[in-house]
Amino acid sequence: MAFFEAIRDRAVSTLNQVLDKKNPSGLTKDQLFCRQYSLPDYETVLNESAAEVEVVSDFTTDAYKGVSSSMGREQFPQGRIFLTQHFIVFRDAYDKKNCSFTIHLSTVKKVERLPAKDYGFALSIHTHSKLQVTLYLVGLRSESERFAQTLKITLKKNLPNVKKLSPFIHTCYSEYLLAKNNISSEKIESVPPSGLGQVFKFPGNPKESRDKSKMKLWFDLFRVDGRNLSLVKTPMFYRLVRVGLPNRLRGEIWELCCGSMFLRLDHQEEYKKILEDYGKRKSLATEEIEKDLNRSLPEYAAYQSPEGIERLRRVLTAYSWKNPEVGYCQAMNIVVAALLIYMSEEQAFWTLNVLCDRIVPGYYSKTMYGTLLDQRVFESLVQNTMPKLWDHITKNDIQLSVVSLPWFLSLYLSSMPLVFASRIIDVFFLQGPQTLFQVALAILKVNGEDLLKTEDDGSFISIIKDYFQVLDQSAHPNSPNPKYKSITKFQELLVTAFKEFSIVNEEMIDVHRNRHRDTIFQNISTFVKRTELRNLPKAKNISPETLSILYDRFYSIVQSYSVTMASGSSLMDFKAFKSFMSDICEWVKPETSTDPADDVFLHHLFSNWDSEGQAALSLSDLVVGLNKLIEPDLMTSMSNFFELYDFKHKGKIDREGILQISEDLLYVTGPWKDGLLYDDITVNAMENAVADEVYKANTSNGDDGAKKDEIALPSEVQIDKQKLESQQIERYLKGASTFIQRAFEYAQPEEEEILIKDLAIDNSISHNAALNPNTPVFLNLPTFRMVILADETYELLFSRTLRKSINLEKSLDSKVNTIRNLRDMFDGLLADGRKVANKVRRRMDSAASSALQVNNNNSNSDATSMKSGRSKTQEEEEEQDDDFGVISIDEKDKDLLLGAEAQVLIDPVSNEPAKNKELQRFHKAEQEAAAASASFKSGTKIDDANLIEFET
């Protein structure tokens, strides 16, 4: 239960944070309603109506009462009445402070329908606190009927909750106070759980703060207006909060004002349960908490004793488990230490929840965005309300936040003596975060003249520091008027804050927050990004700039990412990974492809890169993996690829692995195999062909090419593109079929290590023997490399083609199709004509030199240049051959090395039949291999799977 609630709460708070970020007013109507009336987030308005209310209690005759039956109906507050799952809520239409109430349905004893007088419809509600609240519903009779009906149903539904009421009110000091004075029918024998102040003394002098008189006033108010879960708030209520709460009642009024009381009622066992469930478990948060336990209000007696420290530890750790997104933030220790002076542990726990989740969201979160934002808001409020002081601050480069940030973050508790800070908190819980701003502005205002004389941070700070130490002194020490003289600096501060800066209300703060939100988020993201990039493992193949792009791409894809979360906690699942790869890799089919065969290689990469085995990749996993994939060194690149299939890290890949590699190579080389992309060999051939054409054109124009410095490239050249394309397709198919055949041919039997050089001369080990399923075979790294290097196209794949097909640098917003348009590419040959021009020049030079020897004959020199062009590729091929010179190809292998035949197969006019034929060949080879392994006893299942894939 608690678990689901925790999840729900977190979801709600995350949602709120996200909404808060994106669209501050994006809360639903119900959510806004709950916030306005400090109700739990799960309440929704079931019905509402215009109404006038009359509140009568047994003690209404008491003198000070503003709303009483004797005053006549004209005086009844008019407003709106709302019904939610657990509450009846009313607010005065004109001024909330005139009359409002939030009555919990569990406190409703009886509802009567009154005989209609001049009003059409009246309901009388009798509460546990002996209030009689009469609602005169205004509106259509049918609507009023419906309201009454809904109320009836809701009350019935709430019945199971009523049993929670009695144990709960036994924890409320207000009830105890009345019971003790025989006002309440409730018998409360034991003193309700209280704050540490009860044992270790409350801060300040109770006589000076006239604690007793205040208590008497509250006592009267409770009798007349109700209390805790059924309280009618009248102007008196606000007045009594403003003058400072009596120490003993402080905790209860705080939780009533901020709404944490309702959470405590609804989740009576949760605090205890969290402590039981987590016990002594450790986390980063609990470690951080331990560091600070002895450093929280250390001067207060309770925090020099185990009792106080224990309470503090329990509340802070319980919260860190309840809301791991926030965990623990320094300053929370001070706030909770203060709460615990006036509140029981459970009260403090729920109040901390409301504080972090609702009142000041983001103040204590991992990025502290709320704190940063409100500091910026505060600065702009100073600028608006005290321009002269602001000019002075900026002129002298004074960092305002160094003084103001602790005020906000620790709710003045670390700045002012506790007696005064708790008075500010009285108002803070009543009217919200605007209080923090109002007081902060007032501090600067009151000290304005002195502050204007300062020139650096040091003197600025010390003026404020000194001021906090003399708050109890007279604000007008030299005034002859004793009444004036008795006003303390603290009183003066409050008056300035709540009178002069009353314009700084929630709306104004919201306007400012919205103005600065984006900048603050931008700054935080930049910082978080910098930190995370710095903490990534070293990736030599990825430049810092590229890393930065990868970071953005990673988080833009990981949907759940939000700045409010911890850096580095976001992970990428396979779906996101595929989307990521399809953005940057030319061989990854678009996200929309649903053919599972397309994902095999990606799945392979994914599980291989998943260092924690959590079926998700961190940014660091991704960077490490990509870094390997784009390795520029041919040998390393091949061994990286080999390692992907070497599951047991034994340097061996078995039969299934070999089949998998060949499948995956076929997948990866898809775009080139299908003629969608050109590799370097083809591009080079195209350049040669173009150069030939250009040269031909230039020389046939009769120009003396050798004399020309500038080679004019024509806007269009006709070459046989199709032929080159089909040659490439041919090469890739050949590469694929060659790979699988050679891999099995040179694969080694499990038992004995056979040297590569033996392979070449030992005819007894033929590929047929290797394909024999009775002989377990494996491929080791040198053999794998050899097989790859034996094929020009596959060698190029590992040295260049693969790396170049992964566009890590591609910017995030680029909408360009990943598969580059072939036409563009071809046109590019001419557009960036330098290479072609060089080739043409080379031809001209060679023509010129041959012209010295032979007569100037166009066709001759043309032939020479063509020849030289071709001989170059031949040379290259010879070089490749040299690379694997250890292997001499015997007669038997010739039919496998299709080089010579391939030429014949190419049909420049239509390459389709050739392609098909080649594909058939390839599949035949594969099937052969697969069939061989299918009959291989140990591993039939995997082979079957392979077989199916091959057949498709």
Binding site: M368, V402, L405, D457, G458, F527
Partner: protein, 215 residues
């Protein structure tokens, strides 16, 4: 004590993991005091202290920052325009040394180009009586020195509790800060040079220096 020259103001920022003793170092330097349970710094604290090095007087404007990880995003606000930084770690906590490394990188990337940085391993008092093996010390002097050399930092091990080496840190930084005020010509021609490390290991010397530093 009188100061022959007008003081040069130096903005100095302290960075490092939570509870490594940043505030305690400052408290020792500024008030020659030590508190066992010091309240954590919320955001940042600001203190000043003058320090005489040879002919020169330096007025340190010290920004002591909160150490908890999440406060890190506030740090740029404080190290902005800083001429000097002290990156502190706890020699009994390896994690704090890793954090120190990050802070050094952050400063090199983000702070003023010519910032003078001192790397300080604090809580030396805890390892003073360490035996070779299984002592409390978890970060060796060599590791600290290594990082300092790699990154071009001053390096000290200190104890805010016993005041060991504390003033030397500030003197060391002061002598590396380039003379900006033309009137203060008589700078001790920098000069501890590439070494840059004033490792005055004896307590008596430190105490001596402390005398010069009072104001």
């Amino acid at each position: 004590m009188s100061f022959p020259n007008p003081a040069t103001s130096v903005k100095l920022v302290l960075l490092g993991e939570a509870a490594v003793g940043k505030s305690s170092l400052v408290l020792r330097f500024v008030s020659n005091d030590f508190q066992e349970n010091k309240e954590p710094t919320i955001g940042a604290a600001f203190l000043t202290q003058k320090c005489t090095i040879g002919e020169r007087t330096i007025k340190y404007e010290i920004w002591d920052t909160a150490g908890q990880e999440r406060f890190a995003s506030l740090a740029p606000m404080y190290y902005r325009n800083a001429q000097a930084a002290i990156v502190v770690y706890d020699i009994t906590k390896p994690a704090s040394f890793i954090k120190a490394r990050h802070w050094v990188k952050e400063l090199h990337e983000q702070a003023s180009k010519d910032i003078t940085i001192a790397l300080v391993g604090n809580k030396y008092d805890l390892v003073e009586d360490d035996n070779e093996e299984d002592g409390l010390r978890k970060v060796s002097v060599e590791e600290g020195k290594g990082l300092a050399e790699e990154e071009g930092l001053l390096f000290f091990e200190t104890s805010a509790k016993t005041s060991y080496n504390v003033n030397d840190v500030f003197i060391g930084i002061g002598s590396k800060i380039p003379e900006t005020n033309a009137g203060n010509g008589a700078a001790p021609a920098d000069q501890t040079g590439g070494e840059g490390r004033i490792d005055l290991t004896s307590n008596s010397v430190a105490a001596n220096r402390a005398g010069e530093c009072a104001c």
